[in-house]
Amino acid sequence: MKRSRFVYSQRTTIALGILCIVIVIVVLQLWLFTATMEAFLGGNNVIPIPAWIASIVCLLLNLGLFYYLRNLDR
């Protein structure tokens, strides 16, 4: 394992920034999930699929950010 180009205090700052973005995205997913559940229980069959796609996009964004964070160690 080779040493990262950032020292730990720098990496912590980057991790904190990424963490804030990930928190916002996860809260967005929470809202999306509750809104979709509410629509589904109300008999709506149109909302779930676009909401599902939006949630997958959020997950991919989170995965990308986490992948970048993991790469800080390398």
Binding site: T12, V22, V26
Partner: protein, 181 residues
């Protein structure tokens, strides 16, 4: 390779951190490294949460598609017009034996039927046709007896409506509108 200035603690074998076993890198002693690892691991936890939301959304989509593919609901005789005077009420099960519904004879002569489970927390609603409402006694939810829409209280969705067909003095339930029972 020069020593890392932030690595205060020297491992027992004296080698740099990059050459240490994974467990020593993942459970650090020094503050700068520990703070970084804790933030990274919290981000990983949020990633799992994000994945869990996608699983939940997938379940909703699957349930929605299944609901769309279900064949038409059965037609069931639920009462006769003679049974119910004005403001008369009858409980029945539709479409399955576990789905309680309520049939109401309104003052204008029309019949309406709704699922009896409150859309807040599934308590049974009690029809009060004289007052024009269906009331949920658990949390004081009130629905309009004509339309099933919410009048007051915590529910935010209307009661699912049972479609009716009246032929030869017999009342048939033919389907459900506005949500699952």
């Amino acid at each position: 390779m020069s020593a890392d200035p932030e690595q205060v603690t020297v491992p027992p074998d004296g080698r740099p951190l990059e050459e240490q076993p994974v467990w020593r890198q993942e459970f650090p002693i020094d503050w700068p490294q520990s703070e970084y690892v804790s933030r990274r691991e919290f981000t990983r936890l949020l990633l799992v949460t994000s994945f869990a939301f996608v699983v939940g959304q997938t379940y909703i989509v699957a349930s929605s598609l299944l609901r769309q593919r279900k064949s038409a609901l059965p037609i069931a005789e639920i009462a006769t017009t003679r049974e119910l005077p004005i403001y008369g009420v009858k409980l029945f099960m539709y479409p399955a034996a576990k789905d309680p519904c309520v049939l109401v004879h309104l003052s204008n002569g029309e019949y309406v039927a709704f699922g009896q489970k409150c859309t807040h927390l599934s308590c049974p609603v009690i029809p009060q046709p004289e007052k024009g409402i269906l009331q949920c006694p658990c949390h004081e939810g009130v629905f309009d007896v004509t339309t099933g829409s919410v009048v007051s209280g915590p529910p935010n969705r209307p009661l699912p409506r049972i479609t009716l067909d009246i032929r030869d003095g017999r009342i048939y339930a033919t389907g459900v509108e506005g949500g699952a029972l």
